[in-house]
């Protein structure tokens, strides 16, 4: 593949006190790619995503956004963050704002759009996640799945170069999971660059270019979905996938 590398982590370590959560992770995501990360709970997936989203610096290593070493060059973090969409596992909508207002906030404050432009953009994003009729609902009035779709719309409204999604369906009931997955699949088909932590294997199978397995603070292996699912090379990945697929 020759398309531009959007995000790249080089030799990323993250140490909290005594705990070595990440121990030299290398990863890159190219424009148009959908990459899925799987791995046991506590293996550092969320930490890795926060570091790649510049929400937290690595203890060691470099994080490159479109080829530029953001920390090394001392680039404006807020500006870089605005180009990276982030969707969290926990509900993270601003609870005093309606769905529409949640989506408008970034474009207005960060992209400097007028209220009108931001509103127009927010409606487009709501349409994208099929929630136009919920524009004036507060997060408290929305289901978990709807909240996550608004969170996706909010991230997309910034017109980011990449979307990072950290187990966006892990807190949802099964029947709410698919509506979020469906939206994510549509985005992947539209060519939106995505790095997704998820254990929804059908999703990975359907749209991922690559699945990476992380465990013990390192990426153990990355491979095409079919290959990774049917024929994992490392013993750890084999055990993990067997459990995962057995349980699902």
């Amino acid at each position: 593949m020759s398309s531009e590398t959007i995000l790249e982590g080089q030799g990323i370590w993250k140490i909290y006190g005594e705990l070595e959560v990440l121990r030299g992770v290398d990863i890159d995501i190219r424009r148009g790619q959908t990459k899925v990360i799987i791995g046991p709970s506590g293996s550092g997936k969320s930490t890795l995503l926060r570091i790649l989203g510049f929400l937290e610096p690595p203890t060691r290593g470099r994080v490159l956004f479109r080829g530029r070493d953001v920390y090394g060059e001392g680039l404006d973090l807020a500006k870089i963050r605005s180009k990276i969409g982030f969707v969290f596992q926990q509900p993270s909508l601003f609870r005093h704002l309606t769905a529409l207002e949640n989506i408008k906030l970034g474009p207005r404050l960060v992209l400097g759009m007028s209220d009108r432009e931001a509103e127009k953009r927010a409606w487009e994003m709501l349409k994208l996640v099929h929630l136009e009729e919920f524009a004036d609902y507060y997060p408290a009035q929305l289901s978990g799945g709807q909240q996550q779709r608004v969170a996706i719309a909010r991230a997309l409204a910034m017109n980011p170069d990449i979307l990072l999604l950290d187990e966006p369906t892990a807190n949802l009931d099964i029947e709410l999971t698919w509506e979020v997955i469906e939206v994510m699949e549509e985005l992947a088909r539209k060519g939106i660059t995505m790095l997704v932590v998820t254990h929804e294997i059908p999703f990975a199978r359907e749209v991922a270019d690559e699945i990476c397995f992380i465990s013990d603070g390192v990426i153990q292996e990355c491979n095409e979905p079919e290959e990774m699912i049917k024929n994992p090379k490392t013993p750890r990945a084999r055990v993990f996938l067997k459990r995962l697929l057995g349980e699902v």
């Binding site: 982030f86 969290f88 601003f94 906030l105």
Partner: protein, 216 residues
């Protein structure tokens, strides 16, 4: 004197009671937000100084400050020669300490995930405070602010000791001048209830309603 004329007599003090309470609440409001920020976000030495300030006003009766300001500082500082402004100032400073507690707890109650989400959008720290944290924190703070106003209305009665002509003072004049020992104080108590209860109750209800609406 009749009850009715007693009532009208005491009512002369209502302006002082209300204005002292609301002025000191205003001072306490600005000071409270500022102190909450300092204690939460300022560098350690400043934050500790903020904590010390709060401890001071939590631990010393406000009447002591009122007396100190008026009779002490009033010796050299013209502003404190006024019993009225000494009272407003002392109550305002204490309210700042109390309100900083209210605001700090309210700000801390905003879930971290929202802050992270705001940061991920590229909002600056100031924007996050202004557009995400404070609007929600104010809602969470409403019931506490209601109690604080009620407390100030009640404690403004100490101003009578400095000679301010408030509700309590007028009631006491009736005792001293007309030897009415019961009715004036009961009337004063009723007036205080009528001032404190609706405000505290309204803000409490409003806070609960909004908290429910937004699931805060």
């Amino acid at each position: 004197m009749s009850i009715v004329s007693d009532l009208f007599f005491i009512l002369q003090g209502i302006t002082a009671t209300i204005s002292i309470s609301f002025l000191s609440f205003g001072i306490g409001f600005l000071l409270g937000i500022l102190l909450a920020f300092i204690r939460l976000y300022a560098p350690k030495p400043a934050a500790l100084l903020g904590d010390a300030y709060v401890k001071l006003f939590l631990g010393v009766p406000v009447l002591v400050f009122m007396l100190l300001f008026h009779f002490g500082f009033g010796q050299f500082i013209p502003f404190f020669k006024s019993a009225y402004f000494s009272s407003v100032f002392a109550l305002g400073l204490r309210s700042g300490a109390y309100q900083s507690q209210i605001f700090r707890a309210a700000i801390n109650s905003i879930p971290r995930d929202q802050l992270l989400a705001a940061r991920a959008l590229g909002l600056t720290d100031t924007q996050i405070l202004r557009y995400v944290v404070l609007p929600q924190a104010f809602i969470v703070a409403l019931p506490g602010l209601g109690s604080e106003i009620a407390l100030l209305i009640k404690d403004s009665a100490y101003a009578f000791i400095l000679g301010v002509l408030d509700i309590t003072k007028y009631a006491d004049i009736l005792r001293a001048a007309y030897r009415e020992f019961v009715a004036p104080y009961i009337l004063a108590a009723m007036l205080y209830i009528m001032l404190t209860f609706p405000i505290a109750n309204y803000l409490d209800k409003l806070g609960s309603k909004l908290k429910k609406k937004y699931a805060l």
